[in-house]
């Protein structure tokens, strides 16, 4: 038994490849927990960042600086009455949010947080990811149709049309990145998520800079398509608040609604991870070749710890700036505790064995976080596209551009 447990720790593959079910299960649990925490954090961050972009404070009441607001919201959603419209189709209505959530989470099986930090490494990883994430449109259509109401129906129609059309542009951009992986001596490309990052490692370049500007263009196409794919502003037509009240989930409430919410945010994280894996070097730290050598390795490996210590310092500054009134005592203690936890994590990240195993995950998460920030920024800046304009952008701009980039990438790849 002990051998079974330690056998994976010694291997340098993913638990799925090592055939170690126990560790695969542990990874699944960790990813599930981590993702839930990430969605909660994302909820808070989005509200705070958006608020500060809009000259307001955002949540401030529940916990210090509203830190506990997402938890309070989650509790509220859980204890809310679960309403099912009288004329809804009960089974489809029930299963739709489940499909959306399950597809959003399943994608993470192949997301490589590090060379060994993935549940498994499929040789068709990219295909699996695109395939599963596009299944979520089924759940959306089912939700819209089963609600038996006009607004959800229009929302579902919009979303299915939108997701299907942007999938194509997305796929073309992905193919051009996959083409780049075959630029080695053997000429063999790979669809494996880990393989793609390793190809970038071997070619000493992130694919976003490869064949400039071809890689960048493919990345931009993907970045636009992924916003449309996840129904976020400025492509949030399926849930356009001012037009369709809430789009396909108008009739949902309470826990079911929160499933849609969870799915939306995990889908955002999922597509961001695809973008990071395919173009931004996955788990690789910045400048792995330009700034290489022992000293640089050490310095970059300290950054995760320093980041957490910095966050802890920010929390402690918040503690000092808290009003001294007794009313704020609990909040002050809470914030200090939060800072202490962050600081402890930071210190833990300085321990060499932890440092070495964790820094891949840190860099991957940092890149995904950057992509998530862009999502929030878009939402604060752009008005919403109209349906026909959205389709025009998808079919008349992104699709030809994607084909062009693909052909040019192939030609350049042959010549070089």
């Amino acid at each position: 038994m002990l051998d079974y447990i330690t056998s994976y720790l010694k291997s340098d593959t993913t638990p799925g490849q090592a055939g170690n079910f126990l560790w695969a299960f542990i990874y699944i649990l960790l990813i599930f927990l981590g993702l839930s925490v990430a969605v909660i954090a994302m909820n808070w961050l989005e509200r705070k960042i958006l608020a500060h972009m809009q000259v307001r404070l955002g949540p401030m009441r529940v916990g210090p600086h509203g830190l506990l607001q997402p938890i309070a919201d989650a509790l509220k959603l859980l204890i809310k009455e679960d309403i099912m419209p009288a004329e809804a189709d009960p089974f489809v209505f029930w299963i739709a949010p489940l499909i959306v959530v399950i597809t959003a989470f399943t994608v993470f099986i192949v997301v490589p947080f590090g060379p060994t930090h993935a549940v498994t490494d499929m040789n068709i990883g990219v295909l699996f990811m695109l395939g599963v994430s596009s299944l979520s449109v089924l759940g959306v259509v089912m939700a819209g149709w089963s609600s038996n109401s006009h607004y959800p129906l229009i929302g579902a129609l919009r979303s299915s049309a939108q997701m299907v059309s942007y999938e194509i542009a997305m796929g073309l951009a992905v193919v051009s990145a996959v083409l780049m992986t075959s630029l080695n001596r053997e000429g063999t490309g790979t669809l494996s998520m880990i393989g793609i990052v390793q190809a970038q490692q071997a070619q000493h370049i992130w694919f976003v800079f490869k064949f400039f500007p071809l890689g960048l263009m493919a990345f931009v196409i993907f970045a636009i398509a992924m916003v449309a794919e996840t129904n976020r502003a400025p492509f949030d037509l399926p849930e356009a608040e001012s037009e369709l009240t809430a789009g396909f989930h108008t009739e949902y409430s309470g826990f079911r609604w929160s499933l849609f919410f969870l799915a939306e945010y995990s889908a955002m994280i999922a597509v961001s991870s695809i973008a990071v894996t395919l173009w931004l070097g996955g788990w690789m730290r910045p400048f792995p070749h330009w700034l290489s050598g022992e000293t640089w390795d050490l310095m970059f490996s300290l950054i995760p710890g320093v980041t957490f210590i910095l966050l802890a310092v920010i929390a402690f500054v918040g503690v000092i700036r808290m009003p001294k009134h007794p009313y704020f005592r609990v909040q002050t203690i809470g914030l200090a505790g939060f800072g202490a936890v962050l600081g402890l994590i930071g210190l833990l990240l300085f321990v060499p064995p932890v440092r070495d195993r964790i820094q891949d995950i840190f860099w991957f998460s940092a890149k995904v976080a950057g992509s998530m920030y862009m999502y929030i920024w878009y939402r604060g800046t752009f008005p919403r596209y109209r349906f026909d304009q959205l389709m025009k952008v998808g079919w008349k701009v992104l699709l030809p551009l994607g084909i062009g980039v693909l052909i040019l990438t192939a030609l350049v790849g042959i010549w070089l």
Binding site: H150, A240, E241, P383, R384, Y385, R386, D388
Partner: protein, 389 residues
């Protein structure tokens, strides 16, 4: 089908004379959608019944009256002075303009004129209110189109205007700022400084809004060529205000038949050419700048003197009738008052700009998409308190 949907369908099919949907090989049905009265984008309690072919709008029908309070009837049972606060409740985002129109109408009926100082204060407050109204319009209009950020910027700056109102008369929204014959309150200490400070504060802010929207490609795409209405149609429907001016008609009552002290000031009437939503946006943005210009001129030369004309305690206008209209932020706001010589008006009829402008909705959205209906409702700048009265 429930009873409610059945009656809705019956209502729509009987009242809407609409063309058939585009003939396709699939025999598609039209979809009748009920938008409002509780809907985030109808600016109050407007109910629009939409007949859709997919996303295309085949026709609309407005159902109004959810906010009907019988303001005009109430007037018949109140004295002239008592009715004054009621008019603030019609267009509640431009309450000062409403008060100005009513007070001037009654003054005309009484044959008195407000003293020059009162007129200047009236102009300053009315123009501030025009700014506040346009800011609220911009924020909500942008929000409807999906840009959420301008709303918070405009509300931040509108707050400064409301603070000035609050300091002047104690109320922020329904100000009841003017009295028949002038103003009840003298300007407070530092009023001119506050207004000047506000003008300097808000000028760069308007540039900030424009920076967010004017050249934003999505904004331009969403508004250009949407909800086009020609100048002829505007005039035929009686549409006034920025909507009319965006169609290229240079008609502003502040210039055409100057009231209050508007003839003393130098300002321009911004006009558009295309009569689409983008032009209406530009016209209103320009109007905000022109309002600032008027305020700047007025605040520098408020004349000294009394603020109330000599009006009797009990107002008994001579028998007769009067129609007086002013340029409210949303268009021509007219008051038709019939006096029978008693202390109460015999009849008050209000010509609200929102109500008349709302008529153009159907013409503007036919053949466009659902999202455009929202944009057009926003660009018409309606306030349901004024539509229903």
């Amino acid at each position: 089908m429930t009873d409610a949907t059945k009656s809705l369908a019956r209502l729509s099919s009987s009242n809407l004379e609409l063309g058939a949907p585009d003939k396709t090989f699939l025999d598609t049905n039209e979809l009748i959608i009920n938008m409002g009265p509780q809907h985030p984008a109808t600016h109050g309690v407007l109910r629009v019944i939409l007949k859709l072919d997919g996303e295309k709008v085949l026709g609309t029908e407005c159902v109004i009256g959810y906010l009907h309070r019988g303001v005009e009837k109430i007037a018949e049972h109140r004295t002239y002075a008592m009715f004054n606060p009621y008019v603030d409740r019609m267009d509640y985002v431009a309450a000062v303009s409403n008060g100005l129109g009513y007070c001037e109408a009654v003054e005309k009926l009484l044959n008195v004129e407000a003293p020059p100082r009162a007129k200047y204060i009236r102009v300053i407050l009315t123009e501030l209110n025009r700014l506040a109204s346009h800011m609220l319009w911009l924020g909500t209009h942008a929000l409807d189109i999906g840009a959420i950020t301008p709303l918070f910027y405009t509300f931040r700056d509108r707050e400064e205007i409301l603070k000035i109102f609050e300091k002047y008369c104690g109320a922020r929204l329904t100000t009841h700022a003017f009295r028949i014959g002038g103003c009840q309150y003298e300007t407070y200490e530092g009023f001119e400084r506050d207004v000047t400070k506000f003008v300097d504060f808000v000028k760069p802010k308007i540039d900030e809004y424009e920076e967010l929207l004017t050249t934003n490609r999505i904004w331009v795409k969403r508004t250009k060529g949407v909800g086009v209405i020609s100048d002829k149609d505007c005039i035929a429907l009686g549409v006034t205000g920025p909507v009319l001016r965006a169609s290229g008609v240079k008609w502003d009552l502040r210039k055409a038949q100057p009231y209050a002290a508007y003839s003393d000031f130098d300002f321009e009437i911004p006009t558009g050419q295309n009569g689409d939503t983008y032009d209406r946006y530009l016209v209103r943005m320009q109007e905000m700048r022109q309002s600032l210009r008027i305020i700047e001129q007025a605040v520098g030369k408020i004349p000294e003197g009394p603020i109330m004309a000599k009006v009797p305690k009990v107002l008994k206008p001579p028998v007769g009738e009067i129609y007086h209209s002013i340029e409210a932020p949303k268009g021509e706001l007219g008051y038709f008052i019939v006096s029978d010589g008693s202390t109460q008006p015999y009849r008050v009829r209000v010509r609200p700009p929102s109500f008349v402008n709302l008529q153009a909705l159907d013409m503007m959205v036919r053949g466009q998409l659902v999202a455009d209906v929202i944009a057009v409702i926003g660009t018409l700048d309606i306030v349901l308190g004024e539509v229903d009265r």
